[in-house]
Symmetry: C2
Subunit: 427 residues, 2 copies
């Protein structure tokens, strides 16, 4: 499947990979034959009968190591959830725990067809290491809150120098003030110097809850979006995560300044934060991508489900079953997401010259039968388990539904061992 | 996993099946050993390490043969969807098409751990036949609309005589007036005589859209629920399907008269119908179960996803992340659903003496790791692909993720062949 402006195009043809790039996408028997002839003996051929090759999905917001807290604290109000469960748990985590949790979450993402993700967390260097080892593409973002800003700029500068562009540019490092209500204006401004100095982007939670909007209004007399604009956040490549509660002016600011919004429908539903005005943002020309958020507020990292729910939620919220049609949602998880992280045309597309971040789905499943409309089936029916093969930068990372660069059994045992240790540490 | 009042109980023990019933559920080594001794040589033993045995899920509302229209017409407003796409397509279907579509949808349900479903459609006898052959449990309901009521009572009486209680009581036949806005009061009253005469239940779409509520108000000066109550629908075992738009009085009527409400969150979202007040219905003591609705408004038959979305949607709609906690949602898809169809204690539970409608999940998956809370993992993370073994009435219908009584390849080819014929028929 390739993208044409406004609609997808299906090939029954051939896709060829050379190095880390897509070398051929064609339904022309002549071109395919010529390619085969030119490549000669070195060409490995795989039959794709009953299979779909498409760009890997891009998860624009995650705290991947929170797999450690999956199912640990559900069905609770936000503040007790944070203060009594999540924060005390997080306070016990060390870098090795973060690494182990990241390995688990990355395994889940890769096996389900997600080839790139944006992460925001502490010990982001350890997330970067897990990403490098697994073969996934990642934008890792060391996060800070106001009470833990000491040394952030220096640590992050070192992290950028070490990891930004690492593994053949598979890893990038962005800056991440946690949120306007947890970071001071001075800290946010200070952190932006890292963007200025290194040409990296910034991502921040914005307008997630009504309570945040009220807090920012009381403190600064502005909306969270206006506040961040005035601090200069949107002068850099920026992801505004959540954007549940926006004014018309906020939407105009985000559209005009080219800020990409990250829609996290399941997290916003589960935490009862509200419903982001995504249909209106798109109408206004804003770029919007999709994220799962961390696995303790979702509780999985399934981008298929996120696409489906993201579309359905906008339909019921607006009363209009036509908004966020399947293909638009698929764009949000591919081309729009690539644009959001500055990789437009590089990933999220099946096009010659683009990076070979591709997935192969087995379409021979009851829930994908019949196939009146392939894109509708993908967005409204496909499951992680339909993904058989996953490739990032031309390297196979999932083969026949199993990790190529790791052993899920070993990852699982390490997570469970660490959780046992954490429990004892807490007693 | 077994149910205790108010909370689940997990066993690390043994479950034994004898005939169509659960013969043993125990964590007592002595009881297990005694059972093994008494059964002697005839006992087949399966190791369940890393596996979960639980009751199969019950899908309370479906038009299963609409698999034929999966992805055929999405992202459209309700009336063009119905009048330009769905109805013209349905008009072309014959009984063999309905059978073929039912086989496909039943395959999807069984493979994903749904062991029973309630269906409403034309040619319900053919749905019954597909259910009998596949091994699934079904309540099939021949539907009628006002313009096609001629002969309904006679046809349905014959269908009840032939299929109600068939296959060892695995099949039941209920009555199904389509909706208060598509059937006349006289027709609904007439159809209820079938309930009276045969002791069968009735299911009907109610208060799905605001437009229906307005229509019924104009015609009868009542709400749809009041209208159906006055017609006597709720004097029988009844499923009120959708119930998106209810007044306080409606909720009182449904609770007081013991009507079971069927919540179809994904269909209601996708068609932009609205959000059923499920949290309030439960507060008032009403019984509520979950359905997928037909696969052209969902678009799959995944009850795991339906549970997850059903919970999340109530949380965001009420602004309260505590409503519909995981275990309550699981009850809606098991014990509450069993109660709704008059099979309380017979199915939906893992209890000695109950029917052996059971599923076995493989928990050794990234998205189910770690396991802080098994029920949270099931409701918020589990997928159809986690289901390995499925049994209905003690007979294995899915073994190692494949149909035991059918061949999905053959089902698929037949569906595709018939769709080809339908397309030509339309030209």
């Amino acid at each position: 499947m390739t993208e044409q402006p406004g609609r997808p195009k299906y090939y029954r043809g051939a896709v060829a990979i050379s190095g880390d790039r897509i070398a051929l996408v064609s339904d022309s028997p002549q071109r395919i034959e010529r390619y085969e002839r030119e490549r000669g003996e070195g060409l490995q051929v795989a039959d794709g009968a009953g299979r779909l090759v498409m760009p890997g999905l891009i998860n624009l917001h995650n705290h991947v190591s929170m797999t450690l807290m999956r199912g640990y604290a559900d069905d609770l109000p936000l503040m007790p959830w944070l203060t009594e469960k999540i924060w005390p748990f997080e306070a016990k985590l060390d870098g090795d725990d973060i690494y182990s949790g990241a390995e688990l979450g990355i395994a889940e993402m890769l096996l389900g067809g997600t080839t790139a993700f944006v992460d925001m967390y502490w010990y982001a260097d350890r997330v970067a290491e897990a990403a490098i080892r697994s073969g996934i593409r990642a934008v890792v973002s060391p996060a800070f809150v106001g009470t833990a800003f000491d040394g952030y700029v220096e640590r992050t500068q070192r992290m950028i120098e070490r990891y930004n562009g690492a593994a053949g540019d598979r890893i990038r490092v962005w800056v991440a003030p946690h949120a306007p209500y947890t970071c001071t204006p001075e800290q946010i401004r200070e952190s932006l110097k890292l963007c200025e100095r290194n040409g990296v982007g910034v991502n921040i939670h914005v307008a997630e809850t009504l309570s945040e909007v009220e807090t920012i209004r009381e403190r600064y007399g502005k909306t969270p979006v206006e506040h961040l604009r005035d601090l200069g956040v949107f002068d850099y490549r920026a992801l505004a995560v959540h954007c549940v509660h926006l004014t018309e002016t906020d939407m105009e600011i985000l559209s005009r300044q080219g800020v990409s919004v990250v829609y996290n429908p399941q997290s916003n539903m589960k935490l009862a934060s509200g419903i982001a005005p995504v249909a209106r943002l798109l109408e206004r020309g804003a770029n919007v991508g999709i994220g799962t958020d961390g696995p303790s507020s979702n509780n999985d990292l399934d981008m298929w489900d996120e696409m489906r729910t993201g579309s359905f939620l906008q339909k019921v919220a607006t009363g209009d079953p036509c908004v966020l049609p399947a293909y638009e949602v698929l764009r949000m998880a591919t081309t729009r997401a690539a644009d959001a992280i500055g990789m437009k045309g590089e990933i999220g597309v099946l096009a010659e010259g683009a990076r070979a971040d591709l997935i192969v789905l087995n379409l021979d499943k009851p829930h994908l039968t019949p196939c009146h409309d392939l894109v509708a089936n993908l967005v409204y029916c496909a499951k992680p388990s339909d993904v058989e093969t996953v490739m990032v930068d031309g390297r196979i990372v999932v083969r026949q539904g199993a990790l190529a660069n790791g052993d899920f059994g070993a990852i699982r045992r390490e997570v469970e061992r660490r959780l046992g240790v954490l429990q004892r540490r807490g007693e």
